[in-house]
């Protein structure tokens, strides 16, 4: 069986994670990358990709591919998906899927006309701790869950000290990003909540700003699931210093018989985990085995698994597990939350 030929559109931080993942996924070959930055194209060549383009349109025009990874800024997702769909390439799109639900509909229509499938990198459901919680919950080990809380807080487009880079201008333009913390982080959390509890409704939302930004860097939303009767409080924010591998992502289920939280399944000491995992990988390599990819970092593995699931579906001609409709649904929930908070970041 021939390899799935892949192009990577955008080689910022998350683009490099996808590139390295794709290079290690069985049955996948990275043919080319596109990035406007010369430094990023140099990095691609250093990572073993010789075919590089400045413009993703040129890549799509010139290359014969099966799929692309769209790791461009959100305001370019729609155009990139249309370019891919016109040429019959499936597309794995970074979150948020689109900057508006109308844009998401346009992307889904383009995919339908092109006969291609769309996947979305809603990674959090692929995190090991979240998967464990899902198994425990589905097995009924905590009983009915009346209450849940989920939160994701990082430093958004800013640095923790020592500052090493200037943030990009587009990151502060809500027309380019689709919004603030709700659009960038909330989309992930909405996806996890609906994955666990089915369709939710936005009961209440509030937003705030800790700095004088044009969008919210603080948001809180209350969701209700009609299927399970679960009320979830969702918090997200761009206001806290974060240095990977420490990641502020919390999910707690308060069930009738017990509570579950994702931190129970994560390493209690990341440096020790990293050292142990790295040592095991060295041993595996000495034995001629493949390492546990992204094992020492713990969290990046979720991106490897999410891309892997998409590539497997693409190769089989099947619908990806997290598809364009899911991506659109998450953007719709963000828009509902903004409406409930009486806030429009684009104004």
């Amino acid at each position: 069986m021939s390899a799935l030929e892949l192009g990577i559109l955008g080689l910022g931080n998350i683009g490099t994670v996808h590139l390295q993942s794709a290079q290690r996924l069985p049955g996948v070959r990275v043919r080319a990358i596109a990035d406007a930055s010369a430094e990023n194209r140099t990095l691609a060549r250093k990572l073993g990709v010789s075919r590089t383009y400045t413009d993703y349109e040129d890549l799509c025009e010139a290359e014969t591919l099966d799929a692309v990874v769209v790791a461009l800024p959100p305001f370019l997702h729609a155009d990139a998906v249309e370019a891919a769909a016109e040429r019959g390439f499936d597309a794995f799109v970074e979150k948020p899927f689109a900057t508006t639900s109308d844009e998401a509909t346009r992307m889904i229509e383009a995919a339908r006309e092109g006969g291609v499938s769309l996947g979305v990198d809603h990674t959090i459901r692929y995190q090991p701790g979240i998967r464990r919680m899902k198994s425990e919950y589905d097995a009924g080990h905590v009983g009915h869950v009346p209450l849940a809380t989920i939160s994701r807080i990082n430093n958004g487009p800013f640095s923790a000290p020592p500052v090493s880079h200037s943030p990009s201008g587009w990151q502060f333009d809500p027309n380019a990003t689709g919004g603030g913390a709700l659009m960038d982080l909330g989309v992930h959390l909405f996806d996890v909540v609906e994955w666990f509890f089915g369709e939710v409704s936005v009961e209440y939302a509030t937003v705030d700003r800790q700095l004088d930004l044009d969008f919210e860097d603080t948001a809180s939303v209350v969701l209700e699931s009609a299927d399970t009767g679960t009320t979830t409080t969702l918090n997200c924010g761009f206001f806290q210093w974060e240095e990977p591998p420490d990641v502020n992502m919390r999910f707690q289920l308060d069930g009738i018989t017990d509570s579950l939280e994702n931190s129970s399944f994560a390493p209690s000491n990341f440096p020790i985990h990293a050292a142990t995992s790295a040592s095991k990988n060295v041993v595996k390599r000495l034995r001629g085995d493949d390492p546990d990819y992204f094992g020492p970092t713990y969290y990046y593995r979720a991106h490897y698994d999410a891309l892997g699931a998409f590539c497997e579906a693409s190769a089989a001609g099947e619908e990806p597990p997290v598809n364009g409709e899911t991506g659109r649904r998450m953007v719709e929930l963000v828009e509902e939350a903004y409406a409930a908070a009486d806030f429009d970041p684009r104004e």
């Binding site: 931080n13 998350i14 790295a278 060295v282 390599r285 546990d292 020492p296």
Partner: protein
């Protein structure tokens, strides 16, 4: 460190970070405030705006301290104009940093002029401009008092300022590797003395569980002030650790075939 407070440095604890509290504390701290403001047509306020950190981190000046200074000038001056200067820093341009830190809004609300003073560029000032330097209290080997003046006026710092300079350290929040709600202001007529004092103040923080709040603003000795700072939670020099980790991770990646996280990818391995 010598716990004796230098005679040319005046420090005051404050009970809270209210604008009115800080306005009074700044006025009480600067011993020659009246003569300073009488001779001045225009005061350039210089907060630390080197990056849009939240003020509660202690990494930059708290806008409430700047607002307090605006109101102090307005109350005690005779039609004295107020200019708020935003320099930005190496990784943040002055307009972006000033806006995100709230100084565009502050200047409008306090009827002050907002000036962007890009680092490395010479800015012109009208005659009769004095400078009220408002640095934060942050662990910095060269001292934040001098650092803030160099950002605004170049390597010569105070010597290149357009007029007389008074410096008031905003210690409402401080950063020693750990954020602190330290609730004090400190000043001196001698910029170098204040700069040396703040470097030494933060050089040996003690290990405290919490800080006893004061019910009203009062003078405080250096010894008492030092006892209010917690030890830093950071371990080692971040730049050195990051470079070592990056190189180590890239080597590990080459050995095992594992992927390298993006934050460690961009380095020179020779």
């Amino acid at each position: 460190m010598d716990d004796t407070t230098p005679t040319d440095v005046s420090a005051r604890l404050v009970p809270n970070t209210d604008v009115s509290t800080l306005e009074t504390a700044i006025e009480a701290s600067v011993s020659d405030w009246n003569s300073f403001i009488e001779r001045t047509e225009r005061v350039l306020l210089l907060p630390d705006t080197h990056y849009p950190f939240h003020f509660s981190t202690g990494m930059v000046t708290a806008p409430t301290a700047v607002r307090a200074a605006c109101r102090l000038v307005e109350r005690t001056g005779t039609g004295t104009e107020v200019v708020v200067g935003c320099t930005g820093g190496e990784h943040a341009d002055p307009e972006l940093s000033g806006r995100f830190l709230g100084y565009e809004r502050l200047a409008e609300e306090e009827d002050a002029e907002l000036r962007h003073l890009p680092v490395g560029e010479k800015s012109d000032f009208a005659d009769g401009t004095a400078v009220l330097n408002l640095p934060t209290v942050r662990s910095e080997s060269d001292g934040t008092v001098a650092e803030n003046l160099r950002r605004a006026f170049g390597s010569r710092g105070e010597a290149a300022a357009p007029g007389p300079v008074r410096s008031v350290l905003d210690g409402t929040y401080s950063y020693t590797g750990t954020p602190q709600r330290s609730l004090f202001v400190a000043t001196s007529d001698d910029t170098d003395a204040l700069n040396r004092w703040v470097v030494e103040l933060l050089s040996e923080p003690s290990d405290v569980e919490g800080v006893e709040p004061v019910s009203e603003s009062r003078a405080v000795s250096t010894a008492d002030l030092r006892s209010r700072f917690s030890v830093s939670r950071s371990q080692g020099a971040p730049d050195v650790l990051d470079d070592a980790m990056s190189a180590g991770y890239r080597l590990y990646g080459r050995l095992t075939g594992d992927a390298v996280p993006p934050q460690f990818l961009r380095g020179n391995d020779g």
